[in-house]
Amino acid sequence: MPDRFTIVREFLLAQPALTALIGDRIEVGGPLSGTDGTISAQFDINDGPAIVYNTRGGTRDETDLIILQSFQFLCYAIDTVTAMRVADTLYSVLRGKKSRYILYADQDTEPQLSQESAADWPFAFSFWTIRIKER
């Protein structure tokens, strides 16, 4: 089984509605501002929107074969409207969808807006629970 980050990334990169917005700009991580006032990302927000995602804990079901993995998705864009559009597109391509390893995906919270402290990079963040098959 691929690792859970790869499972999610490959699924999202196979969704044309989403890649039309973000291309292949999707990486693992959290907020990008460092304590030294700099921002660290593999993408430039001026090239287009991007998604930064990470796990935030989770559990297993009683069979021990299904991981109920909690994820956070931070959808970055040059402005808040576009950031929210990316988050809404993420919802439309991921919610309730299946793949070889994804059994079900559900958004726990509606997207909310925030902004990086080190740069004027707005982002919309949402939390998800994704059920992943162990094999």
């Binding site: 959290g30 935030r56 804990g57 956070q72 963040f125 939390f127």
Partner: protein, 136 residues
């Protein structure tokens, strides 16, 4: 006592137990979040992790001046107000430090605390309150 009356009494007992259950879970969640907080430096953000008891009031914002033992830097820290519980069957755990959201997004500790609660503590707390209320 008729069956109907007994059912009514049971309903009242359960309704009376729910706020107790929710408050105890919030307090346990606060403890888990504080223990799991990986960001402790001055302790300000950890101090602002608070349980909102069932039907309880929120917290006021605050400003505190602290010195980082790591850097020796002294500065003001700000905490926002936490909202109160909307009704007596709702409780919560929150972090009020204004930068708390970023701490959670960088390395989550509130979400894992809640997941830990959902694991085993819910049943334990329900059992304990049910015994105290004579439901078990």
């Amino acid at each position: 006592m008729t069956d109907d009356l007994r059912f009514d009494e049971l309903q009242k007992l359960i309704a009376g137990a729910v706020p107790d259950i929710m408050t105890r879970l919030a307090l346990q969640g606060e403890a888990y979040a504080k223990i799991g907080d990986p960001w402790v430096d001055t302790g300000f953000s950890r101090n602002t992790i608070q349980a909102i008891t069932a039907g309880g009031e929120g917290t006021n914002g605050e400003i505190d001046t602290r010195t980082s033992p790591k850097t020796g830097q002294t500065r003001e820290y700000f905490a926002d107000a936490l909202p109160g519980a909307p009704d007596k069957n709702t409780s919560g755990v929150g972090i009020a430090a204004e930068y708390g959201l970023f701490l959670e997004l960088k390395k989550p500790f509130i979400a894992p605390a809640v997941q830990k609660l959902k694991g085993t503590d819910v049943q334990k707390v329900v059992d304990a309150v049910a015994r105290e209320k004579g439901l078990k």
